[in-house]
């Protein structure tokens, strides 16, 4: 073997090993994140965490019950706002629209999807907070709902398109009208994909903090109704992390662990469902 060939083979093996190292490093980041959260927050996860309110500044103890409920409220409302728009809009795109309208709507949805969450926050602040002169759960839900719309719309459209023509034609041939076909045949056929896409959208939005800083703000207590500021897990993590109190840091880690665990579980669950159905998620 010539020296030149020996060198080339060495370079080849070296570079290829290096790519393996890159992959290992990249993947290990996930485990580092999980590891630190478990290590720093695991011990703080107790019954108190889930049931008690935060205690006054400087005191030890308490929990994040209000943040957990707050996040749940926000997500529920956000879905009530964002999912119907995305879902029904997606139905229009897949079943009724012509290509020009479809292009415009798709473009708008992609645009909305690419907007940084802080800018969504500005918009929500201007539209849902300033005119009413106070922060509220509704405003927070509005901001989060906005972020759910594009994902829901594109997924609905995609999964509906994936339903075979033959299914639709069979229904219409039996005399069902178009909307009945959509409601009774097409949507149920695409149901699994759409549900999992919505779950993934929820998981993504559950971790968003920036838009909430200007809308739901935060609250050390319960937030009755919808028109008051509310605590949420991500906002609480942010506030506690920035504080100078060790006890609050500890709780921030715990909250981070709970939040990430929920998000990852939903992600794993949703992807597992989708892959069993034979679809690949982008």
């Amino acid at each position: 073997m010539s020296p030149r060939l020996r060198w080339r083979k060495f370079v080849s093996n070296f570079m290829l090993t290096l790519t393996g190292v890159c992959a290992a490093v990249s993947v290990s980041a996930l485990f580092f994140v999980l590891g630190y959260l478990v290590y720093n927050g695991g011990t703080s996860i107790n019954w108190d965490f889930f049931t008690k309110l935060p205690v006054p500044v400087g005191e030890v103890g308490g929990g994040m019950a209000n943040a957990i409920v707050g996040s749940a409220k926000l997500l529920l409302l956000a879905s009530l706002f964002g999912v119907p728009i995305g879902f029904l809009g997606g139905i229009y795109m897949a079943e009724f629209s012509n290509s020009t309208v479809a292009f415009v709507v798709r473009y708008a949805a992609d645009l909305l999807n690419g907007v940084p969450s802080i800018v969504i926050g500005i918009f929500a602040y201007a539209v849902a907070v300033l005119p009413f002169k106070h922060f509220s759960t509704l405003a927070g839900a509005f901001a989060l709902g906005l972020m759910m719309i594009p994902i829901t719309l594109r997924s609905t459209e995609e999964f509906l398109h994936g339903v075979p023509r033959a299914l639709r034609e069979a229904s219409m041939a039996l005399g069902a009208s178009k909307w009945k076909t959509i409601a009774a045949v097409v949507v149920p056929a695409a149901y699994r994909g759409i549900m999992t896409a919505i779950l993934l959208a929820l998981a993504r939005v559950a971790g968003e903090t920036a838009p909430l800083l200007f809308t739901a703000l935060g609250n050390q207590y319960w937030s009755p109704g919808l028109r008051q500021p509310t605590a949420s897990l991500p906002a609480m993590i942010y506030a506690y992390a920035l504080s100078p109190y060790d006890d609050w840091h500890r709780q921030a880690w715990a909250a981070g662990l709970v939040l990430l665990a929920l998000i990852l579980i939903v992600n794993i669950f949703a992807r597992a469902i989708l892959s069993r159905g034979g679809t690949v998620l982008r």
Binding site: T19, L30, P84, Y92, L112, G114, I149, G207, H249
Partner: protein, 329 residues
Amino acid sequence: MASSTTTVSNAGPSTGSRSFLSRLWDGDEIARIVTFLFAATVVLITVLLVLQLWHDSSLPRHKFGLSFFVTRVWDPIAEQFGALPFIYGTLFTAAVALLLAVPLGLGSAIFLAELAPQKISDTLQFFIDLLAAVPSVIYGLLGMFVVVPVMRVYIQPALKHSLGFLPLFQGPAFGVGFLTAGIVLAIMVIPYIISVSREVLLSVPRDQREAALALGATRWESTWKVVVPFARTGIMGSIFLALARALGETMAVTMVIGNTPTISASLFSPGYSIAAVIANELTEATGEVYFQALVELGLVLFLVTFILNGLARLMMVLTTQKGSGMGQV
């Protein structure tokens, strides 16, 4: 039968011969209109968003014009607003992030697409997808309590010691700053580079690789000199996507960058980014000009990410076209 007109016309667009009222009651037409309204709402919301950003930034735009982008001073009390420190911080941290993320991400993508057996490649990709799902505030948490101390105690002093003659590595080491923010951002954008690049590399036709190997190339030579160039448009697209993400990141950045509007060549210096200053000051902004200056920053961020995302999409389209038009007779 006269009544058959209502049932027969379900499948197609309604004909003009039917009365307006009968068309109105038709389930299909209602469904069409209702769903159209929802689809239109999406467009409406997007338009409103752009309009709001434009309208609510008009004061500083008229007052400062283009000098807004090159002025260093950000003084709310004197009502002088210059965006340069934030633009600088955003770009500097994004540059650091890409410098770290692109080699690491591309290397990983090459491994996943060219070397790893399918099952391992899919499993690792799954973990990478999970990494992309981690919220920004949690990266911020880890940044603040894990990365910053490590930077302050070990890495920054070591860099200063060895490379301190460069202006990049001078100044006191606080732990927070451009470098730390860049590192955290790099971890956040790597999944995007990996997912897209891996997909593009996997779609390179087999016979390109084989042709290179058949000429006596080593595996690395065939990958680096043939497969990767073939996929370069898509890889560029993934980098634009990553850049758009890095520029818009708020929470993780504001937790580790130091939040001081400084312009410095040193990586160790604390700084500020557009997203971070908006997050910290929007709700505290007293006075309309102050508020609108922050909105203008938001507008800038919006425009830049809009362009980058558009370019990235364009590259994706170009890639798929290339794949289908190859080697055709």
